[in-house]
């Protein structure tokens, strides 16, 4: 029977199928994309690890003496302790490619085997001795070399932290093991040659450890940790994967939340449509009941029918989701890379069962839930009531119960927000978000009632008698009107929520940048296409910049990722006093750090450092450095946004003393008052011909930072488009259902003397009224969710502390789009209604 009913009314059910398909597609795409992005990053880690069970590091790129490798090799249970250097470089002739440099002791066969490579099979070199004897030797991936027409013996220029350097291709790598994970963007060098370009002679930044077979890895790790100098730590590559999974879980939650909101909108459409379909079938159901079919059986058959509809939606939505996932994967991977400052890997979408099962289950669940209540209501009607020809919405009563539910929901939202504040757990914030979405839907019906005194006269004023008809038509089925407004509210509200979040992140980043060091020019070797990857440069760049005509003062800044108490943070080391010509007459810029921090006696920490660790001004923290433990007092709080875990800001002198690192990431340049800033920029480019630098004006630097955030949130547009499609379907469905229900009324209107254009205007006005009601709900939901996430949930989930900023222009644009979408949705039913033959319409049952 369900199949017969569904087949007979498939046209009525198509919008429901399509809406569920869109929701399922979005959930599927978000989950597949998040898994694929995570897998791409972890594949790189896995492949790079090879047989390596443990790694010794000093934070992100921190260098330490190569003798540490010998110390580790002496630990019982260690089979291989391979010194390594890793970094990034760029081909001198390309702005868009970033190469991962992987430097091992090529002359040590055991070290090479630790990465799953064999010289000869995977690594073809003409002369291994030359490879490690000549410091300009590099090994390229065969596909990368072939693309550039390079072979063994050819030269290639790479831009490294010490500048542009020529290298000779001494070997070619086959795409196995570690190479495969990096695609073609991998350069292998000898570790000693890499020290000269990426750290300094005698200093490495990693020791890779292979544990002897049979030895417990944990015990060996403990032994290594005891033997290491302070500031170095040992971890398993799998632990880094766990860390990555933890930090990417936050992004995955956000993506899934967006997908679920779209599915919630689809649920509302399905609920609305199924209620109408079941109500229209009351006569048939009454016959069933009159014949003797039990109410429970009727309910089950109706629910089975909805499952068929859900199954059709799932069947359509899953392939759509896979396609959408492929489209969105580059955006998701970029967002992950930008957010967590990782090199974007080559990500491929794999269709995995858990994602499909999740999306399918949610789609079927939405269909089931959407049908349960309407089916229960119509199955409970007595045959007499169902057979009576009454133009009454069968869904009546329960108004008092609904107010109780609304009250309970409001209390639950307040409780969840309070619990989030008290426990600092993002889970309560997520729960509050779900409850806000439900509350938005439940607020629609009272809103329709509240709007009546305002909208009715407004419509009459604007549109005359047609306006009166539009409003009373919507009031004819307040349930359907409320559900349509709810669909719009939830859908548009989710778009507004994401826009507010993106704007707040962007403005917070810009404000943090603007409140920090402010110079005339910002010089760095950061690679723009990698977004946020910092490529350090030796500090002699600062002296070179000071020598450029027109430069008054220069200050260097080193930024890197570090670990503190087992969690990632960022270090921001700044030259407090911009150095310039001591004899210069114009005053140099004031000190960039307050006295205690400038002297190295204290540090500043960021607002999210304070949030996550519960420390404050006056407290002392102990940093583990390559030179040992460094206890420092907190002197102030900054708004820096370098790391989700927080930032510690110190003087660069203190940093260099403890981290043995004389590189800088950024150089700030102040020009003389009489100098032309653009001319100074040109002069710097000319003076630094051998090293490609990015030199930005201050305003350009701010724009660049904002652009990276916009890239990270680029996916919002794709989500918004899909949500608007769901909204379009829902609104069109409501208006079409309303026209179908009122066929005879429309016939009567035409019989009395209304023209076709009156009918068209009436239906279009109904669309505008729905858009207005939906926008009111969307504004409330969007602002509520945006405020909740900016102030509480996002900092707990992702780690960043934000200020609330509302993109009013975007909000207005969304409003205009919503009205446009609703008008577009109203056009087909409007013209259909206008084309009714009055005589035929009057006979409609």
């Amino acid at each position: 029977m369900p199949l017969r009913f569904a087949r007979a009314e498939y046209r009525r059910l198509v919008p429901t199928v399509v809406a569920i398909a869109c929701g399922v597609a979005l959930v599927c795409a978000m989950d597949l994309g998040a898994r694929a992005a995570l897998r791409a990053f972890t594949d790189v880690m896995d492949a790079a690890a090879g047989r390596v069970a443990l790694e010794v590091r000093a934070g992100a790129g921190g260098a330490f003496p190569e003798e540490v490798a010998a110390t580790v090799a002496a630990i019982p249970g260690v089979e291989i302790a391979a010194p390594a250097v890793s970094g990034t470089a760029r081909p001198a002739d390309s702005e868009d490619e970033l190469l991962t440099v992987f430097a091992v002791d090529v002359g040590n066969q055991e070290a090479v085997r630790a990465y799953g490579m064999e010289v000869g099979d995977d690594l073809r070199v003409d002369d291994p001795f030359t490879l490690f004897a000549q410091p300009d030797s590099v090994v390229l991936v065969r596909s990368f070399a072939a693309a550039r027409g390079l072979t063994i013996g050819d030269r290639i220029e790479l831009v490294t932290p010490v500048g542009r350097r020529p290298f000779t291709v001494r070997g070619l790598l086959e795409p196995h093991g570690v190479v495969r994970a990096f695609g073609g963007n991998l350069v292998v060098m000898d570790v000693y040659a890499a020290e000269m370009a990426f750290t300094r002679p005698g200093f490495i930044n990693r020791v890779d450890v292979v544990v002897r077979d049979g030895e417990p890895v944990a015990r060996v790790a403990e032994a290594i940790a005891r033997a290491l100098p302070r500031g170095l730590h040992v971890e398993a590559p799998s632990q880094r994967k766990v860390d990555l999974e933890r930090v990417t879980a936050a992004l995955r939650v956000m993506l899934q939340a967006a997908g679920l909101l779209a599915l919630a909108a689809a649920f509302l459409i399905a609920f609305n449509r199924l209620t109408t379909v079941f109500a229209a079938r009351m006569g048939q159901l009454a016959v069933l009941r009159a014949v003797g079919v039990r109410a429970g059986v009727v309910w089950r058959e109706l629910v089975k029918e909805s499952l068929l509809v859900g199954a059709a939606g799932v069947a359509l939505g899953l392939p759509l989701g896979i396609g959408l996932g492929r489209l969105l994967l580059p955006v998701i991977a970029t967002t992950t890379a930008l957010t967590y400052k990782l090199p974007p890997p080559e990500a491929r979408l794999s269709v995995v069962a858990p994602s499909l099962v999740l999306a399918a289950a949610l789609g079927l669940g939405a269909a089931l839930l959407a049908a349960a209540l309407p089916a229960w209501r119509v199955s409970r009607l007595t045959p007499r009531a169902a057979l009576a020809e009454r133009d009454v919405d069968p869904v009546q009563g329960g108004a008092r119960a609904m107010w109780l539910v609304r009250g309970a929901l409001a209390a639950a939202i307040a409780a969840a927000i309070a619990l989030q504040a008290a426990t600092r757990s993002a889970a309560w914030g997520l729960l509050a978000s779900v409850l806000v979405a439900i509350g938005t839907a439940l607020a629609a019906r009272p809103l329709v009632g509240l709007a009546r005194p305002t909208l009715a006269p407004a419509l009459r004023l604007v549109a005359g008698p047609v306006g009166r008809f539009a409003w009373t038509t919507l009031l004819h089925s307040p349930r359907r009107t409320a559900l349509s407004a709810a669909t719009l509210g939830v859908g548009l509200g989710s778009i507004l929520w994401l826009c507010i979040l993106a704007c707040s992140v962007e403005r917070s980043v810009v404000d943090a940048m603007a409140s920090g060091v402010r110079a005339d020019l910002v010089v760095s070797a950061s690679h723009p296409s990698a977004g946020y990857i910092d490529v350090p440069v030796h500090e002699r760049l600062l002296d070179e910049l000071r020598a450029v005509p027109g430069v008054m003062a220069v200050s260097g800044q080193r930024m890197l990722d570090w670990q503190h108490e087992g969690a990632p943070i960022a270090i921001d080391a700044l030259d407090p006093d911009p150095h310039g010509d001591p004899a210069s007459s114009p005053p140099r810029p004031a000190s960039l750090l307050d006295d205690a921090v400038a002297r190295g006696a204290a540090v500043n920490v960021s607002t999210n450092f304070v949030l996550h660790r519960g420390v404050g001004v006056g407290d002392t923290i102990a940093l583990e450095t390559p030179s040992g433990r460094l206890p420092v007092r907190i002197a102030g709080v900054t708004t820096e946004v370098l790391s989700p875990g927080g930032t510690v800001q110190m003087s660069r002198a203190l940093y260099a003393r403890y981290w043995h690192d004389d590189n800088v990431t950024v150089a700030y340049v102040w020009t003389r008052p009489e100098a032309d800033v653009a001319a100074v920029r040109t002069a710097i480019v000319r003076e630094q011909g051998g090293r490609h630098l990015r030199i930005l004006l201050w305003a350009e630097f701010i724009d660049y930072c904002a652009a990276q955030v916009r890239r990270a949130f680029a996916g919002v547009r794709a989500l918004a488009a899909l949500v608007l499609l769901v909204v379009l379907i829902g609104t069109a469905d409501t208006l079409a259902a309303g026209v179908a229900e009122r066929t005879r009324e429309l016939g009567a209107m035409r019989a009395v003397g209304l023209r076709r254009r009156h009918i068209v205007r009436m239906v279009l006005l109904e669309g505008i009224v729905l858009a207005t009601l939906g926008l009111v709900l969307a504004l409330a939901a969007g602002f509520a969710l945006g405020t909740l996430w900016v102030n509480a949930t996002f900092p707990r989930l992702v780690g960043w502390v934000l200020d609330l900023h509302v993109p009013y222009a975007q909000v207005a644009a969304i409003g205009v789009m919503a009205v446009g979408v609703c008008l577009a949705a109203a056009l087909p039913p409007a013209y259909r209604a206008a084309r009714f033959q009055p005589a035929v319409a009057l006979r409609h049952e």
Binding site: R390, D391, V392, R460, G464, P465, R468, F469, T472, T473, L475, H476, R744, E745, G747, A748, R750, A751, V752, G753, L754, R755, R756, R757, H758, Q837, P838, A839, L842
Partner: protein, 230 residues
């Protein structure tokens, strides 16, 4: 439109469907209704009564023949002009009342006046007057669901009269009413015809209802088979 509401049908045919399934609802009907006349169209179900009424009201157009109302050939008029004709000069009363459930009785009567350019306040005043004329002066604030069948039909008659039409077309107006209520409606129609000289064409299958008219036209299988004066 000229002051009279004369209705002239000549050689009117109306067919629904195509091919072997086609049904000839009205077959070569010629009929004249004089200004101020009360004519009843009777016949069994499927005889073409309602189709003929729809053709007279411009709700449908004939496949052949002419339908003239007030001297105007409806087939030559655009849909908008036919709509204006109905709004200004023709009133319709339906068997199933076709009142708007979310409007009050007063609003149901008043709304056609708004489309004639009358302000809403004036429209309501006029509607109240018409409701009094049909004997429903006190129910203006009630909704159709709160009215009896007879009261609803009176409201429908009031709606048809509020624009002061020259021609009233009533399609089985007593079909859903009990006999005494139906009689009351028919009494109303008779009074309107007698006092206002309102031209009325009434479709009914009830001989006693038809007997109220000046002339009864009998249809069968789409053809006019008999005319007589009751």
């Amino acid at each position: 439109m000229s002051g009279d509401a004369e209705v002239v049908l000549s050689g009117v045919r109306k067919r629904y469907g195509t091919g072997p399934q086609a049904v000839v609802a009205v077959n070569d009907v010629a009929l004249r209704v004089a200004d101020g006349e009360f004519v009843a169209l009777t016949g069994p179900s499927g005889s073409g009564k309602s189709t003929l009424l729809n053709l007279i009201g411009g709700l449908d157009t004939p496949d052949d023949g002419r339908v003239e109302v007030g001297g105007r050939n409806l087939a030559l008029l655009s849909d908008d002009v036919r709509s204006d004709l109905r709004l200004q000069h023709i009133g319709f009363v339906f068997q199933s009342f076709n009142l708007f459930p979310t409007f009050t009785a007063l609003e149901n009567v008043a709304w056609p006046l708004e489309f004639l350019g009358c302000g809403w306040r004036r429209a309501r005043e006029r509607a109240a007057e018409v409701l009094v004329q049909v004997g429903l002066g006190s129910i203006g604030a009630r909704r159709p669901a709160d009215l009896s069948g007879g009261e609803q039909q009176r409201v429908a008659v009031a709606r048809a009269l509020v624009t002061e039409p020259h021609l009233l077309l009533a399609d089985e107006p007593t079909g859903n009413l009990d006999s005494s209520t139906g009689d009351a409606i028919l009494d109303l129609l008779q009074r309107l015809n007698a006092h206002r000289k309102l031209t009325i064409v009434l479709v009914t299958h009830n001989p006693s209802a038809a007997a109220r008219a000046h002339r009864v036209v009998e249809l069968c299988d789409g053809r006019l088979v008999r005319e007589h004066h009751p």
